[in-house]
Subunit: 171 residues, 2 copies
């Protein structure tokens, strides 16, 4: 648990340090049609704080037998409208701080981590798996943001692109 | 140039926010034999600040016709000995600050960016390509650090691993 919290509580500052105040060309970069910009990713992380991780943890702890509410993977395209990146980063940091505090207050035991809930697509999952997924999901999106921005310079690196494996990830 | 500097000057704070004070299991994680931990990556970035980017830029601007000095990709395994991660992060931040200042002082023109140097393996490369590579190299290693830590929880995510593409990158 301490190891998981250590990552969860660092993600907002890490993304803010990477993105805050960057020129627009980086913030709106994508990897092509249907892929997300760093701006879109922060909106998606905000939606996860609101509707995914802690609500699902509570759902499991409450012993609910119906499946979790499905997660809306495109909510950020309507919810983030009219907000600038700085506002989104601050919003994400606030929500994450509250959610990490809520997680710590749950005082989860090993037995709690083994309790199961019903995922609408994946079937039975445990609370421990939910928390590990929260951590990996953060790291996945940090890597995505870095990869998306890197690809903006693919041409510009010239012959060096042969050494820069990130330019060929997820193609 | 401004776009490149915007990334270069943010990398140390982003890596510090992600890594500083993390439990050791994250900092020493690797993706398997012959791959690098977050600790190794910071040592490698330090060696690049000392011997790669700015020295090669100066080499090109000086009109040198001999190839660049080859870059030592394993220097961090001897140079970082006896230093903790906090020391390495602080060292990287100091060197990067000096190197970004040196880059800005070069006042590079478009003609300068088109000037060529000789890479020991890749042949002719331009100063503009060197600077774009510096930026992508930063982002590549940020993504690597996130990916390496994510893989520590592959098993722990259970059925959710199907949704977490980062767990299958670079396998």
């Amino acid at each position: 648990m301490d190891d998981a919290v250590a990552i969860l509580e660092r993600t907002p500052a890490s993304l803010s340090a990477l993105l805050e105040g960057l020129p627009k060309m980086w913030v709106t970069a994508t990897e092509g049609n249907g892929t997300w910009s760093p701006y879109d990713v922060i909106g998606h992380l905000i939606h996860g704080e609101r509707t995914d991780w802690i609500p699902r943890a509570r759902h499991i702890l409450a012993g609910e037998t119906r499946p979790f509410e499905p997660f809306d993977r495109t909510a950020q395209f309507t919810e983030s409208q009219d907000k600038n990146l700085g506002e989104l980063l601050a919003n994400f940091a606030d929500l994450r701080r509250e959610n990490v505090a809520a997680l710590v207050r749950m005082n989860l035991t090993d037995d709690d981590l083994d309790r199961a809930g019903l995922h609408p697509e994946l079937g039975a999952v445990t609370l421990g798996q939910l928390l590990a997924t929260w951590v990996v999901h953060d790291l996945d999106h940090i890597a995505q943001v870095a990869r998306t921005m890197a690809k903006m310079y693919t041409e510009a690196t010239g012959p060096w692109s042969a050494y820069l494996s990130i330019l060929r990830d997820r193609q």
